[in-house]
Symmetry: C2
Subunit: 399 residues, 2 copies
């Protein structure tokens, strides 16, 4: 993909959701967060197209904005997204749903569009009503502040943060078109999807059905493979809006590949900034009989508190890895399993391998590679270590 | 069950594996543990019957002693059990299996029995060979020390401890017969079974097939419902030996009920002493459409790091409970879920209920009750909170 600009090169140009043409954004403080930080965000698709797609949490206890937005996206069109941090509006009953509806109608009135074309997303504490007397004035100020600048995009990226320590933005450039994105994550991160709000924008000209297919493929290979703490949220939302402002209609395969790359960058950024984590751990399973086997093994290992505390303690404890592999239904023989940690094969043929003292676990990035010796397929899950800071953040504060 | 003696009453008499007639036990220090504590245990069935049953980890990466003992128990007979702490003999390849075999043969030679009737169980660090030059002399000393006293039973209970802080023993008395038991647990506790070694003895006269049925029923309702950290071990073994020394052949249903009660007491003792835990949490799901639904919901909630850290932080965070319920396939409607924590219904009809400040989480025992409003079945899982001490124990030390 020669047209793909690698973000590691110098100056990738503007990033985030206002990098593609045809989008305005804003993030403002409305007092939902006690800190006075940005907490209400509006993203507007300026067109000419309003095609859109979205994927949501598969949690059956879904927040009011998820229930509402599922209806909105039904016709493949979204003109705007209203997001707030400082309150999840989950487990809030009929009043919570009415508040989401009211938020969409209020924003629609200000923007001169239909409430049926306004996606709503919320994040924060479950089980409390949103303070509408603060939220609606915030929506008003955000609509007034809508702008197509990089600064406006960054304000939106900061406005959806909860326990995130840095805003997450990304961009990918195709042949004549651009895809941008913002994301928030930090805690309650587990697939199907991780606890996240993500807004993706593109100026490519694509119909809703193709956007939907591309988005599902991209999230399956990115956010669905990020698993911070095994806990699935009630609010996960990933929305993709296409303005068509570039006039370009890219090849679907190329667009999907580029979108996947961007989503993978954002997914890694979420795990790199997960609550209290000191290590980002890639659990890669190779030589599996099927990709499903590889995923099952990687997911089991990535959810082991004993593996995660061992990595926190800089202990290449491969026995804890093997004991998790043994809980799966994947095809393998116990005496043919190899495990490498950061390139050192500490377990060979299901037993003691290289000296574990050779493993360096001081750097942030850790690779645990499990060789099932049962086929040719592979897959990876991104997770992080389990630390004192995680326990502290999640016991000392409600979230 | 009027013949059942409640252990909460005063003076239940002798406890542990030497309480039933026909059993001798010993626990001695052999230097496998650097602390000098007891680490080699022998339990001998003196007969006249040698009927036995055992259940093992369902982990496909099973330790050498598990692989060996599965063969031993095949004929429903066991004359003795040799156990060691200070090394799991798991992921140790052909050498590890040979060491287990050698241990059984050595003990059998000393006892004048067949190695095919000696169960072996190990616990400790995975992935290192046992120091046979210490283990075998330990077996010799343990055989020399075999005795039918309560003190000998206690020495056996201490000899299987790893990070346990107290020895676990229990007893139940039926009509003319007794059942006793010892257990170790502490970390890597999850069902199917929890990481545990358990030896149960009885002087009832029952054939192996009935012992097997009773043991499977009892463990399914006790150890299989204890889940400390969601991690399944490679070494779990629960063995039941019957000496027939009482001459009593109890009703199978009565025996199973008594055995279940004893296993539940030991399972609770394991969770009460789980690594670093400050709270024992019973997650009970009621009014479920099926017992399987109730178990699935209780298990999902009991494995949530966010629920477990919240309880550690004395935070009755019912939103985290509901978000886990939503990940299950159990029959329920989100707007008909109730959640009570220590008797306070903090979530009613899927939304805000009683004031969460009414919940007292200072005491050790916590009850989270989830009402699915979908039927009449119920089930509970015992778990514990996720604390700084858990992270410390499992990151600072290999295990």
């Amino acid at each position: 993909m020669s047209q793909t600009q690698n973000p590691d090169n110098q100056d990738p140009g503007p990033t985030g959701i206002t990098a593609p043409r045809g989008f305005a954004a804003a993030g403002v403080p409305a007092g939902l967060k006690s800190t006075g930080a940005n907490d209400v965000v509006v993203v507007r698709n300026l067109g000419p197209s309003r095609a859109a797609a979205a994927v949501f949490t598969s949690n059956r206890v879904a927040a009011a904005p998820v229930l509402y937005s599922r209806q909105v996206i039904g016709d493949g069109r979204a003109d705007a997204v209203v997001l707030n941090s400082g309150g999840a509006n989950a487990c809030t009953g009929a009043e919570g749903f009415a508040n989401t509806h009211r938020t969409a109608e209020y924003a629609a009135g200000l923007l001169g569009i239909s409430a049926a074309d306004v996606l709503v997303a919320s994040t924060g504490l479950i089980g409390m009503q949103l303070p509408m007397d603060k939220l609606l004035p915030g929506v008003q100020r955000a609509v007034d502040a809508l702008d197509t600048t990089a600064e406006a995009g960054l304000a939106a990226a900061t406005g959806i943060m909860t326990t995130d320590t840095v805003p997450k933005q990304a961009v990918r450039r195709g042949a004549g078109y651009t895809i941008g994105g913002i994301a928030k994550g930090a805690g309650m991160l587990a697939p199907g999807l991780a606890t996240m709000l993500v807004v993706l924008t593109t100026d490519a000209q694509l119909p809703a059905a193709q956007l939907d297919a591309a988005l599902r493929a991209a999230t399956a290979a990115s956010f669905d493979r990020a698993d911070s703490d095994g806990c699935m949220s009630t609010n996960d939302t990933v929305a993709l809006l296409a303005s068509g402002a570039s006039g370009e209609t890219p090849d679907t395969g190329e667009f999907t590949a580029l979108l996947t790359e961007l989503c993978q960058e954002l997914a890694r950024a979420l795990i790199d900034d997960a609550e209290g984590a000191e290590h980002t751990i890639e659990v890669r399973t190779v030589n599996a009989a099927s990709e499903a086997d590889a995923l099952e093994v990687s997911r089991a290992v990535s959810r082991s508190n004993l593996v995660k505390t061992a990595i926190f303690g800089r202990d290449p404890n491969w026995g804890r890895v093997l004991s998790e592999v043994g809980t799966t239904a994947a095809a393998f023989e116990p005496d043919q399993l190899n495990v490498s940690i950061n390139g050192v094969m500490v377990c060979r043929a299901g037993s003691v391998g290289e000296d574990r003292d050779l493993v360096d676990l001081e750097q942030r990035q850790v690779l645990i590679e499990i060789d099932l010796n049962a086929g040719t397929e592979q897959a990876a899950i991104l997770t992080n270590d389990l630390t004192h800071a995680y326990v502290h953040e999640n016991s000392a504060y409600s979230s």
